[in-house]
Symmetry: C2
Subunit: 267 residues, 2 copies
DNA sequence: CGATCGTTTGATCGAGCTCAAGTACTGTGG
DNA sequence: CCACAGTACTTGAGCTCGATCAAACGATCG
């Protein structure tokens, strides 16, 4: 599957350079940080560099110290599926180190970033020793899983292209809002980064052109708003409604997957 | 599907009834087993009963003691996506208990089965106390993640319906072969259960009819063989090749995920 | 100022979905 | 033993949606 992406290590001679240190946002305890910094090796990456690639043996986990990375899978044919973007202080490659020992997604730097590379065995022993690291890893994995399921959902379950795109936009905001359940309602949210139509296509399984047409359509309908480099979701609720537009009259199913646990006997 | 699958809890008065005990296959240590059995509540389920449902608060994890269950997501419209089938001794609902606290897939019994229901808090404390349980959970989560990514891949990355179905068949055998990397080559493998065309459709995001046509086509081409109730994959390699059939001559992309870090002058 | 990248729009075409009809198989009760 | 459901499989015909191809336009940047 393609050229090996020559991962070259631009190691910081002094790991103290690494911006990984206790701070408000940092989820790691000071002890854990100390261990990580003695073991981990700090690496710089430019935009579009590959941090780790699917299919390759998982010898390290990578802690994204600064910058962002997109997590994606690719077919041998060149098609991409972008699962999500990872922000700083996230751990990449967990699934492989803990499980199948082969990375199952690719992480690609969105811009310049620094990552700390931690050998598999070392990370496992840190996890063993420090329940906090272990727990954080668990939560990270659980989130990754939900995210992958969301991606699969929108690809399989939305019938129309509009539904897929709407779902991708909504999932994005949900996954990347700092607070979990915050502003999930009807407040407009806006897209931060340079998201190209091509990337949106890769997130929703559509072609560039279709994305473009849909964006234009959504704007005409007042569902979203485009200013400068931001996409603002004006009406998340109606977007949500697009998700499962029934194209034809009514599909006879009165009861979708019928809420089964309605009357749950105590216990 | 149709009618509401009435969750009824037929609790074994005596948890000793539960078939969960040390055995060759059981991954749990005797101590862990003992704790699980004192805390867990054993429940019987009939075919098509819902064990846990996506979107509901995650108050328990479920240990599948005997039987099988399919893991799926559904849209409000009735469309399904089957992620995989879980076998006995697997833990269900982990992602929710460790992460978002809302189940993100539904588990539905394939046949009669018994599950042990373990309250969230109890399970977390068992995990805390027993590193083995913790590690097993990690591995399970990692596997679930890979599986979800595989599902997303085949939905987004296969261009043709044939590719999607082929990929679903191959993924199934990979996920359900006891040995991981065993017989991954060109040995024929066969499908065990009653898998209906409808279910295959839900695994690959296709309609029943399309699945039927493709199955017929595959058989004509000697890729698979249908005897009795089994589907035998005669030629996995050629199926694999179908995954990314390029419909048109040659898509100009010589290099799949174009190795971006090709010639990088060191630092 | 040209060059490159991303966006925009149109026209065409075909894969796969939907609808519809008919067949094979299984289990059940008389 | 057969009739009768009920379920799953099969096949055909039409049609829609989105991919593909093509061709500008517009910005950003060196």
């Amino acid at each position: 599957m393609g050229r090996r992406p020559a991962i070259l290590r631009r190691t910081c001679a002094n790991t103290a350079n690494c911006t990984l240190r206790p701070q408000a946002l940092c989820p790691f305890s000071p002890q854990a940080l100390r261990r990580l910094r003695t073991i981990g090796e700090c690496i710089s990456r430019e935009a579009n560099d590959i941090i780790l690639q699917e299919g390759y043996p998982a010898d390290h986990v990578f802690l994204l110290c600064t910058g962002q990375a997109k997590l994606l899978t690719s077919s041998s044919e060149g098609r991409l599926l972008i699962l999500r973007t990872a922000n700083s202080l996230e751990i990449l490659g967990l699934e492989a180190v803990l499980g199948s020992s082969v990375y199952c997604v690719t992480a690609q730097a969105l811009g310049p970033c620094t990552v700390m590379s931690i050998p598999r065995e070392d990370f496992l022993s840190i996890m063993d020793a420090d329940p906090q690291v272990s727990q954080l890893s668990m939560q990270a994995l659980a989130r990754d899983f939900s995210c992958a399921v969301l991606a699969a959902r929108r690809l399989a379950l939305s019938t129309s292209a509009a539904g897929k795109l709407a779902c991708a936009l909504l999932d994005w905001t949900q996954t990347h809002q700092p607070g979990e359940t915050r502003s999930r309602d009807h407040l407009p949210v806006r897209f931060p980064a340079h998201v190209t139509h091509e990337e949106l296509g890769s997130m929703s399984g559509l072609s560039r052109e279709t994305v473009c047409r849909l964006i234009a359509q959504f704007r005409r309908e007042g569902l979203i708003h485009l200013n400068h480099r931001y996409i603002t979701l004006v009406d998340p609720d109606r977007l949500e409604g697009l998700y499962c537009e029934r194209p034809h009259p009514a599909p006879s199913h009165p009861d979708p997957v019928p809420a089964p646990a309605s009357s749950r006997a105590s216990s």
